[in-house]
């Protein structure tokens, strides 16, 4: 690192720190990503079927043994409102169980005893609790049926020719990864957005304002200029990545999520591993952006192009998170793509081997160096310098 490159870095960092636009773009995203993550996780938590379920029951006194069964199976029986149908229709109540007065009479006479489950199927989030109550009622029903058959000397097994038992192989860690599907994308975007404004401002912006010519008449090697500018953009990038990771970490350790019983707590170790994956990316993104911005005619044009280009690397990430898309081995060597695969692996509880991580980081850093070298070369071209 030469003294001249450091001088460029110091100037650009100071200039950018005084630029509200640069600061805001780094900061706002760091807050926005984890916020969306928190919202996504709360939604997942609400639809999960663990934990106590509140159920309004009308006529609970008509079926004491059924109520006892429900209570044993994690249902909190609550008092129903006076007009159940209206309450469900307005959304104040998700579902209610109505036990008619003649339930007991039918039950004792071994006739099918009717109960009503009142709900609104068009309402979001009502299907999970409805399914849960239905299952409990079915189980209660077959339990009673078994007892009645035994009392008549028939084995209950005779009436169950097929028994279905589900084996859910998803581990706690893999369910967490599903809930965290969008997390790597936010981290990736932080590494691309944090320093973008600085990368554009120091290249396309510098030329647009007419200060590039002045800068180039100083006796400074082009490589020093580009390195200094790149370091300033990297500084902002790291700032954004660290903040995003920190806020995400706090969100995932948030009490409310812990109580909701989704196993998503991000350990300090995993957070550090994520950071290690993101670091080379935080180096690459500004180098790539500066190179592209040099071809743009103005700051605005560069901004438009880069915002669009940023979406490109997100596509594999989206595929990875929303589909069961098995990454091929070569993907772990392609910068940007590799980080997404490895981040996903990490969140699935499968940390990559050190050799793979080194390969990914090496490829990314190598690409960064190439970008910087090309940018420095480009600054010798008259067309690029004068923007024609």
């Amino acid at each position: 690192m030469t003294a001249k490159a450091l001088a460029v870095f110091a100037k650009e960092a100071l200039d950018a720190a005084r630029d509200r636009r640069s600061l805001m773009s780094a900061l706002s995203f760091a807050l926005f990503g984890p916020l969306v993550l928190a919202m996504a996780l709360t939604t997942v938590a609400k639809t999960s079927d663990d934990g106590p379920l509140k159920l309004a029951v009308a006529g609970a006194g008509n079926a004491p043994s059924l109520i006892h069964y429900l209570e044993q199976n994690g249902v909190e029986v609550a008092q129903p409102p006076t007009d159940i149908q209206a309450a469900v229709r307005s959304g104040d109540l998700k579902l209610a169980l109505v036990i008619p007065r003649d339930y007991g009479k039918d039950f004792r006479a071994s006739r099918p005893a009717r109960v009503e489950l009142v709900h609104d199927a068009s309402r979001l989030g009502s299907s999970a609790p409805v399914r849960r109550v239905e299952k409990l009622l079915e189980r209660y029903s077959s339990q009673v049926a078994g007892l009645r058959l035994s009392a008549r000397g028939i084995s209950p097994e005779v009436v169950s020719p097929v028994r279905l038992s589900e084996v859910d192989l998803s581990s706690a860690a893999s369910r967490a990864a599903f809930a965290l599907a969008t997390f790597p994308i936010f981290l990736l975007m932080a590494a691309f957005i944090g320093g973008m404004n600085v990368a554009i401002d120091t290249t396309a912006g510098e030329r647009e304002r007419g200060s590039l010519e002045t800068l180039l008449v100083h006796a400074v090697p082009r490589l020093d200029l580009v390195t200094g500018k790149w370091m300033a953009a990297v500084l902002f990038n790291l700032f954004a990545v660290l903040l995003t990771l920190l806020f995400s970490f706090l969100v995932l350790r948030w009490d409310r999520l812990q109580k909701m019983d989704i196993p998503v707590a991000l350990s300090v170790d995993d957070a550090l591993r994520l950071l290690a994956l993101l670091l080379p990316l935080a180096l690459l993104a500004p180098a790539l952006q500066m190179l592209i911005a040099l071809f743009a005619r103005s700051f605005k044009e560069a901004q438009t192009q880069l915002s669009l280009l940023m979406l490109l690397p997100m596509i594999p990430g989206l595929l990875l998170s929303f589909q069961s898309f098995e990454p091929k081995p070569w993907m772990r060597a392609v910068p940007i793509l590799a980080q997404q695969v490895l981040m996903r692996d990490l969140l699935y509880g499968k940390a990559a081997a050190p050799a793979v991580q080194a390969l990914t980081a090496g490829a990314t850093v190598a690409l960064t160096v190439v970008c910087i070298a090309i940018t420095a070369r480009l600054l010798r071209h008259e067309r690029i310098v004068l923007g024609r």
Partner: protein, 244 residues
């Protein structure tokens, strides 16, 4: 000393500079005089290494600019066409940055910056951000930046363009002072009074060619005219002067 030797430059099919040769000597002020679009800025840009000549060469104190641009730039102070300031930096920060870019140590940079702020009368604006500065204030910062490493050669592209009368007079006196101190000063202009006021030598350039070279006194005599303006109009060709 700055030497232009048969500079030729074209952009696509447009020939911007066809044949420019001249010498600017130490201890004197040389003016590159010509109408708008004559190729002054392009010629200067080749001298300070921003453009590569298609043929010919620019030599600064014996160094060919194209062969060793950094060595040539080290010996040059340049005030380009556009001042190119950073709105969020103060005048002092601009000078300090230029000093570091030219390779001065932190201590030297601080000393030179303070000296130039005093010499150019920038004490009042030294620690204010440059956004909103007047033309004259901007030009002072740009000049301070060009002189920060005490270069032997100073190239100024239309240094008084857009300045009011007091600022113009101040700029001329700085230019004169530099040459009297033994520096080689080369500046471009299209203003004749400026030439008479401060120049030792004039290089007249029109349509990308040097059409005459001499002292402000010699040129009228050579063309049989009584004043520089008539001589200038004759040398560049009347049509050219009025047409553009």
């Amino acid at each position: 000393m700055i030497e232009a030797q048969g500079l030729y430059k074209c952009f696509g099919k447009t020939v911007a500079v066809e044949d420019v040769s001249f010498t600017a000597r130490d201890g004197s002020v040389t003016a590159l005089l010509g109408p708008n679009g004559a190729g002054k800025t392009t010629s200067l840009r080749m001298l300070y290494g921003l453009l590569q000549p298609d043929s010919g060469q620019a030599v600064v104190d014996g160094t060919v600019a194209a062969a060793d641009p950094l060595a040539a730039q080290q010996r040059l102070g340049v005030l380009p066409d556009a001042p190119g300031l950073y709105g969020r930096l103060t005048a002092r920060e601009h000078l300090r940055y230029a000093a570091r870019l030219q390779g001065l140590s932190a201590g030297e940079a601080e000393a030179r910056t303070a000296a130039l702020i005093e010499r150019l009368g920038m004490e009042g604006i030294a620690d204010r951000r440059s956004a909103g500065f007047s033309q004259g204030e901007r030009r002072k910062i740009a000049l301070g930046r060009a002189l920060i490493h005490d270069p032997q050669n100073v190239v100024l592209d239309e240094p008084t363009n857009g300045l009011d009368v007091p600022s113009t007079r101040a700029m001329r006196s700085y230019v004169r002072e530099l040459a009297d101190g033994g520096k080689c000063v080369l500046f471009s202009t299209h203003i004749l009074q400026e030439v008479s006021a401060v120049c030792d030598r004039v290089v007249i350039i029109a349509r990308g060619r040097v059409v005459a070279e001499g002292t402000p006194e010699e040129l009228p005599a050579r063309t049989g005219k009584t004043n520089l303006e008539d001589a200038f109009v004759q040398l560049i060709g009347t049509e050219e002067g009025l047409g553009t």
